[in-house]
């Protein structure tokens, strides 16, 4: 291996407090996930804003996996492209891992790896004899492989000045139901710490100092947050077919339901969950359940949406509520099923055949995963149509810190459902008549004890009375009403969030997980280049009229998204019409989450600065 950088020993540097990224390279299935989460939680408990991202293969055991932690006292928690501290545990990737990190970075490596420290002279190396330490601290040979990872946590605690007690606290919390497991891990963390203290001379600048910026906050993954949102939105039917990265949303929902939604008086379930035979069936069950009055949802990813599309169209035309959580990922089949992407915007906006369009919600953080799950059920029942909640793998499967969730104050909105008493009062019922002028008709549920209640549900060929019709006027009138209904949705979906900067000629439009990187990039542009920018964060589709106004106010508007074709930019261009020439595009599509520096340099290039 050749030397990659100038052969210059890193000079003594000033300390870098609460601003670094850690990359941990391990082997999938080696049990590193717990250790990595404990390290992140220790930093979080020290009060420093941080995030963790797991970059894992489509594999159960044996292939390389990387976990990155970013800690930043200013609150920037988007992925940082450069690694400051590398922990090498995987012989298969060690050389590439070391080659990729920035000059001046730290490399802590397992003594057993064939690393020669002169391959890069611009790094700070720490060699740790993991096998020796684990042998001494863990008498049970079977457990050694698992607790080895806690040794690097202990060593890093020492090097970065992380309070070891915080790691212990994190472990006890994590293993609250298995105190023995907690103790074995605590011993290993302590051993790593003690060994580092006795044997390593601190030569790097990175350091953690206590802050209070995480006080009261929680750590959770977005899928669990959305699952909780559904549970508190009164979900009664969940159907699903396992697919990464959405499976954990369903599994987490089932856990919460089984814990909190068993009827105390009878011990029976106030919910049903079904693992379906495929996505065709899971969305079919959702439609059947919602048609009969349940609050029903499913969760899937892009390939599942493709399979569900026929039913999504039926939901649109027959006007049946459905909530679909789409945890977006890359590619079909053996594409990159475990990598992130905002890649289904175009697909979900018009999924199915004929003229169809569907509301979408775009959560950007934990609280929004929770709230928008509730919004989605209310909107689906209010609008009698499919509503997509667009998460992505990064938000859904990674641990994020966030504010605790506020208990919903609004009662459930079950939409325009007529009871037998309502029918008695009204005297008649026409399923698809626009009584209120908002495009939304009234419906009845099977089982409603009134002679006027029943109607026949079918696709697009029906008149206002739900009778079969192929008449041109009936079809057109119905389609026009559905368009009016979609316009009603415009006022009901979550409004965009605007951060206007007076005098800014450049505007940003982004959504979902792009938010954190974008905020950081705006600060980089302001602080480093004196470029002022405004920002509108989309939270719902159909777009609010404010989006069009925002575009009109700026010379250039950059739509930043994580796909190749600028799917959201295209959708916006349709909406803003004449102003679409102002819309520019920044597209990140590597399967890895977007970072601030990427946005900043794209803007500077496109603006010719």
């Amino acid at each position: 291996m050749t030397t990659l950088a100038a052969p210059e020993k890193p000079k003594a540097q000033t300390q870098i407090i609460n601003d670094f990224s850690i990359e941990i390279a391990t082997i999938n299935g080696s049990g590193s996930q717990t250790a990595n989460n404990m390290l992140m939680r220790s930093i979080f408990q020290m009060g420093i804003p941080c995030s963790g991202k797991n970059l894992f293969p489509s594999n159960i055991a044996g292939l390389p996996t990387w976990f990155t932690i970013r800690a930043n006292g200013d609150g920037y928690i988007a992925r940082k492209a450069e690694t400051d501290i590398l922990i090498c545990m995987n012989p298969d990737t060690v050389f590439e891992d070391i080659r990729n990190i920035r000059p001046g970075a730290v490399c802590l490596y397992n003594e057993e790896l064939p690393v020669s420290e002169d391959i890069r002279t611009d790094l700070i190396f720490y060699k740790v004899p993991f096998a020796k330490i684990v042998k001494e601290c863990c008498p049970e040979p079977k457990l050694r492989r698992l607790v080895t990872n806690m040794i690097y946590v202990g060593a890093i605690d020492f090097l970065l000045n992380i309070d070891l007690q915080e790691t212990f606290k994190a472990l006890r919390k994590n293993f609250s139901r298995k105190p023995k497991a907690a103790e074995i891990n605590i011993v290993a963390a302590q051993a790593g710490y003690d060994w580092a203290k006795a044997n390593l001379a601190k030569r790097d600048p990175f350091r953690v100092e206590r802050m209070s910026k995480t006080q009261g906050k929680i750590i959770l993954d977005g899928n669990s947050a959305a699952a909780l949102g559904a549970v508190f939105a009164g979900v009664t039917v969940l159907t699903w077919y396992p697919i990464t990265p959405s499976s954990s949303l369903c599994e987490s929902m089932i856990d919460y339901l089984e814990e909190y939604r068993i009827d105390k008086a009878t011990g029976k379930q106030t919910f049903a969950h079904v693992q379906a035979e495929d996505e065709l069936a899971s969305i079919g069950m959702v439609l059947g359940a919602a048609w009969a009055g349940a609050r029903a949802c499913t969760a899937t990813a892009g390939p599942g949406i493709s399979l569900m599309s026929e039913f999504v169209g039926l939901s649109y035309y027959a006007e049946i509520p459905a909530v679909i959580f789409n945890v977006q990922r890359t590619g079909p089949s053996t594409g990159l099923p475990t990598r992130t992407m905002q890649g289904d915007i175009g697909l979900c906006a018009t999924a199915s055949h004929g003229d169809t369009k569907h509301p979408m919600l775009f959560p950007a953080n934990l609280s929004e995963c929770f709230e928008m799950a509730g919004d989605a059920f209310d909107l689906a029942e209010r609008l009698q149509t499919t509503v997509f909640v667009m998460l992505d793998l990064d938000l859904g499967m990674n641990n994020w810190m966030g504010d605790p969730f506020a208990y919903p104050t609004r009662p459930l909105d079950r939409g325009k459902v007529l009871s037998a008493a309502d029918l008695q009062k009204l005297g008649k019922f026409e399923r698809y008549r626009d009584v209120d002028g908002d495009g939304i008709p009234y419906r009845t549920l099977p089982g409603t004890s009134h002679p006027a209640a029943s109607y026949f549900t079918r696709g697009s060929g029906h008149n206002e009375k739900a009778l079969y019709s192929e008449k041109p006027d009936d079809y057109r009138n119905n389609m026009d009403r559905l368009a009016r209904k979609f316009d009603t949705a415009r006022k009901l979906v979550p409004a965009p969030v605007e951060q206007a900067e007076p005098g800014a000629e450049i505007g940003f439009i982004a959504f979902g997980t792009t938010h954190d990187a974008l905020q950081e990039s705006r600060d980089q542009l302001r602080n480093e280049k004196s470029v002022k920018t405004s920002y509108l964060r989309l939270r719902g589709y159909p777009f609010s009229p404010r989006v069009k106004e925002f575009v009109a106010r700026h010379k250039h508007v950059y739509v930043v998204e994580q796909n190749r074709d600028g799917q959201m930019r295209d959708l916006l261009a349709l909406e803003v019409g004449a102003d679409c020439g102002r819309l520019r595009s920044i597209r990140h599509y590597t399967g890895v989450a977007i970072d601030a520096r990427f946005i900043t340099s794209s803007i500077l290039t496109q603006e010719g600065r």
Partner: protein, 351 residues
């Protein structure tokens, strides 16, 4: 055996059932199928079965997929909610509806294309789950709405209207259902009204999935010489395994059960059927015998009808799921949204 006719207004129109409803109150809109279609004869028996059983029309959900058969729910029980789903996907819609409201009486009508081809996956999983509903396959061996292509239930060497011979093995939905644990599996013929009516009433009484595979000739595309789903062939070849009589729980008549001659099958609601031996002794509670009998029928090209298999004790899907008694659809918010303290407890755990 009577000749098949379009839905007709029965003579005893004013006679009321146990709910005080007349037979016309169980009818639907006029059929738009070809005159003489076997499906219309089945429709008539569905109307009669629900009327005689005294099922509340507003508690019925009528489900179907796509095809000629799937149009028929519009022709019966006009006071019930109906759902014409997408092709082959009626099982999923029905499963969802039953999860939402397990008090519904659900009847699904499908065809051989809708079930045995595009819908095969959903069909077998519906059976596996034992979703409580009646599932009728109106089986004519061809795709009617798309004009006469073979379906997957067409018998080996059966001929199409244009003289082509089917070279592939038929799928026997009854054998599949028995293998997958279905507790009520019957085969019948749209021309055998008496048997069909009794089997339909038994299906209403059964708690779990009740499958009726009814050979129902397509008058337009599959009623020719050389077809094994033609009226003539079916009439000449039908071999009932037994004579079947249904006794509802609300009209108990004690018939004597004679060993070797009659068998009695009891349903959880108190209804029962009496099966009277016509040929060889047949025990529909014996899974092995049922499967062997169907295998023999396939090998010897026999058209066996009757109650092929029954097991009235397997818990249905809603029971397996331990659902609350009230339909999930109408649970109040107080039961579906946990209190604030629960959210606070969860948040505390995540801090």
């Amino acid at each position: 055996m009577a000749e098949i006719a379009a839905p007709q207004v029965p003579a005893e129109e004013r006679k009321k059932n146990r709910l005080g409803l007349t037979l016309p109150e169980y009818q639907g809109s006029a059929s738009t199928l070809c005159t003489g279609c076997g499906h219309d004869a089945i429709t008539n028996q569905v109307i009669r079965a629900f009327y005689e059983m005294g099922v509340q029309p507003h508690m019925v959900a009528k489900m179907s997929g796509i095809g000629c058969s799937s149009k028929t729910p519009a022709y019966f029980l006009g006071k019930s909610h109906g759902f014409n789903a997408v092709h082959g996907r009626m099982p999923a819609i029905s499963t969802g509806a039953m999860l939402a409201n397990k008090q519904l009486v659900t009847i699904g009508v499908s065809g051989d294309g809708d079930t045995a081809s595009i819908g095969m996956g959903q069909f077998i999983h519906l059976v596996r789950r034992n979703v409580p509903m009646i599932y009728i396959i109106e089986n004519n061996g061809v795709y009617g709405l798309t004009k006469g292509q073979f379906s997957a239930t067409a018998d080996l060497h059966s001929k199409s209207k244009w003289g082509q011979e089917n070279q592939m093995q038929p799928i026997d939905c009854c054998s599949l259902a028995i293998e997958l644990g279905c507790g009520y599996v019957a085969r019948s013929f749209s021309g055998d009204m008496k048997q069909l009516l009794a089997l339909l009433k038994g299906a209403v009484a059964h708690k779990g999935l009740a499958l009726l595979d009814v050979v129902s000739p397509c008058i337009t595309f599959n009623n020719h010489e050389g077809s094994t789903k033609a009226y003539k062939w079916a009439k000449e070849h039908e071999m009932p395994l037994h004579e079947i009589g249904f006794v509802p729980f609300f009209e108990q008549v004690e018939a004597e059960v004679k060993p070797g001659e009659t068998k009695r099958i009891d349903f959880p609601d108190g209804s029962h059927v009496i099966l009277k031996r016509v040929g060889e002794d047949y025990d529909p509670t014996n899974k092995g015998q049922a499967l062997l009998t169907l295998l023999k029928a396939r090998e010897e090209n026999l058209f066996l009808t009757g109650l092929l298999y029954t097991d009235t004790k397997t818990p249905d899907f809603c029971t397996q799921l331990n659902l609350v008694d009230q339909p999930l659809a109408t649970l109040p918010e107080s039961l579906t949204r946990p209190p604030k303290a629960v959210l606070e407890e969860v948040m505390e755990r995540l801090r």
